[in-house]
Symmetry: C2
């Protein structure tokens, strides 16, 4: 690839053009572009612009014109297939003021691919399909980019200072070609750390539960004062019910200082559940495994969601034993030993019931800890006393049972999700407070 070695990041402006009516109609979500954004970020590069364009020659040409006015690298996806609505090569030729021509190298690659497929699958035809040839008609000046995992070849063209690489929209083929003909060469051309223009920025992400985005931002602003956020770029991302704070900086000192503040600040540190790739459930499982402790659940309004969250983690079985989904009150009594008196006097949505459920699960499953949740997720079932969103959590441990209740303001799905988090968070904070038992005998 023509990228000069040691090119500074500032001279690289990347744009994405994703072509296809199905993207604009929302029948396909553009996962390719998102994936490439993450891959580029890992090289310290940003995607500067993205256009989603219909299968219309004029629109595609207009997108190329805009891109060439502002970007040095343009990654184009889609529209390379064999059907009548695949117009990318034709549009590229119009933009370049060229005609399309049957590209012998591209045709050869398609024939090779067909032959290889036929060897693997006896029912596949060994020779070219009717429609195959269309995919070999490329702009006259195009370089063919061999596709090792599919029929349609990619291609590269240049205009002024801008290089356009074209990849198929099929995710597996897009990713393969993007690695081979874009990310790989870019990675090789990146200056090494310490050289001028080099310096991959440091990126750190902290994850919070139990604070709103505004509250996290207020705390961070208060910690630093506005002037002291120089050299740091902060991004807040709401991933309900989590809030993720990502900072990007070239200054390791600034990052370390922010981290120290977050970890030490009493208003915020107990809401911080993990960093980087950590997940809420995964961090909890890890804590339990480290302590050599086990967990069971008793779920009413969450209906299995807490178990589902925990078992999303591979290896959850090292700490999570199972639980009881007690959606109906009869199940609370039969399987969790919640007494009919508790249900009669306090109701299923009560501190007393939540605590009895936690005790019941802990006893029945023989675990170190049990968490329980019971509440009214909505939309129906609320009363004046116990409105929709009333949730009771309990955590039973060896010595005692802890309780908390909240009134959540969301609709059913979010009330349930926040309830599952709330129940596990009560345990997470209990673990942070309670001394860790020695797991291994001390030597």
């Amino acid at each position: 690839m023509s990228l000069p070695t040691g090119a500074s990041r500032a001279s690289i402006v990347i744009e994405q053009i994703a072509i296809g009516d199905e993207l604009l109609r929302g029948l396909v979500v553009d996962e390719n572009s998102a994936w490439l954004g993450r891959e580029a970020a890992s090289l310290g590069l940003e995607i500067a612009h993205r256009q989603i364009v219909a299968d219309r020659i004029d629109d595609i040409v207009a997108a190329y014109r805009l891109a060439t006015s502002r970007s040095t690298w343009v990654v184009v996806s889609g529209g390379l297939g064999p059907t009548v609505d695949d117009l990318t090569a034709e549009a590229a030729a119009v933009f370049l003021g060229e005609s399309v021509a049957l590209n012998a190298e591209a045709l050869e690659q398609i024939a090779t691919w067909r032959a290889a497929r036929a060897r693997l699958d006896k029912s596949a035809p060994a020779s070219l399909h009717n429609l195959d040839e269309k995919q070999a008609w490329l702009p006259a000046s195009a370089d063919v980019l061999m596709n090792p995992v599919g029929t349609a070849p990619g291609f590269r063209v240049c205009s002024g200072g801008t290089t356009f690489v074209h990849f198929p929209g099929v995710p597996r083929e897009y990713k393969k070609l993007a690695q081979l003909y874009f990310l790989g060469p870019l990675r090789d051309a990146m200056p090494v750390e310490g050289e001028s223009g080099g310096r991959t920025p440091i990126s750190r992400t902290w994850k919070f539960f139990g604070l709103t985005e505004s509250a996290v931002a207020e705390h961070v602003n208060a910690l630093f004062g506005s002037g002291r956020l120089d050299e740091l770029t902060l991004h807040y991302r709401a991933h309900f019910p989590e809030i993720h704070l990502t900072i990007v900086s070239h200054s390791a000192d600034r990052v370390a200082a922010l981290e120290r503040h977050i970890i030490q600040d009493s208003r915020i540190r107990h809401r911080l559940f993990g960093e980087g790739d950590a997940t809420f459930a995964g961090a909890l499982i890890d804590s339990l495994v480290e302590r050599g402790e086990t967990l069971s659940v008793a779920e009413s309004c969450t209906g299995g969601l807490i178990g589902q969250m925990l078992t999303t983690i591979p290896g959850a079985s090292r700490a999570f034993m199972g639980g009881i989904i007690a959606y109906d009150n009869a199940v609370k009594t039969a399987l969790l030993d919640v007494s009919p008196e508790v249900l009669g006097s306090f109701g299923a949505v009560s501190r007393e019931c939540a605590e009895a459920m936690a005790r019941g699960a802990r006893a029945k499953l023989g675990t170190t800890w049990a968490v329980a949740v019971t509440g009214i997720a909505g939309p129906g079932g609320g009363t004046a006393d116990k409105p929709v969103g009333t949730i009771h959590f309990a955590v039973a441990g060896e010595h005692d049972v802890h309780h908390r209740s909240v009134t959540l303001p969301f609709e059913r799905d979010r009330n349930r999700l926040a309830s599952a988090y709330g129940a596990l968070d009560l345990l997470r904070r209990q673990l942070a407070l309670s001394p860790q038992l020695p797991v291994r005998p001390t030597a």
Copy 2:
């Protein structure tokens, strides 16, 4: 809204501008725009252009300029929040040649929202947060669009013949505001059936489980022959593990004919679980309620996911009683009466264990039906005999126990999701075969 009644579709050009570094970095996938594309399509309207733009004033202004040169309606999302990287209102003002001003109506809406939240949650502040006010600084000419489900108000501005509506990027808020201030008015303004340029197309969606997209497409093509698909537009959408087929047509006859074929074709009709807004779990709950029957679950590798799916449905308690998450083998024995001999001779991932789990759940919870699933979701735990993806399902009813096993080819999350569907599907098909018991005494 200023859209004239009876406007022809041809005069409406819709563009989307989604703002946020997190979109370009691929930390968030732009589901909002895809959703709006589908909603617009159901009104017979297309999204003509989409731009994804960084959190930079200059870039946002350039996107507005481009949009105003080619589109009549622009839906802008993101960048309305309280933090420093939320720049949309400021950029809109620059584009319009106005300044931003504190909008009293917007501030009032934020205060009302805070007060409502505080009534529900005693720990939430009743007055404005420090950062709340920022969200009320809007371009001087903006109309405020009240947000009934969140803090940040939307707003509308006009430039030349182009109307820009701005919605928060949080999906729940985006969808609510898009319905209220874009789709709703657009729907009302559409010409009625029969009037010139009118004729809202008929749109129908059928939902399948257990077939790939290609398989559904092959069946449909075979039913019709290529020539007979005239006057119909077909869209396939994979919503793992479901496949949705949507047809759009101006011909009620063509739609009815396709429906008849689908319902009658023996290769496809038993894979059809619902139509339109139906959900997989909801359709099953409805069937059970109609029959006056109840359900419990016994989950190993799905860890609570089946219960979670069922209880997503409001009113699930009319049929779903609860279940046992038997992640650890000791729980299978202690709570589901799976004998140690079954576990010893056949292992936890076996027909025998799945059947014993279903029987155990049915007996312990006293339900009409119980479904059970046990398997190896991966990535670890596979053996030569029982590779990753080996899943056993069982359904216990009054008279007998049905079993099925599959080997799934996906990674952990998809193996678990397909397992939950597979277990419920075994019950769904059992219900279709078994005669319905009379629920009400006949008069």
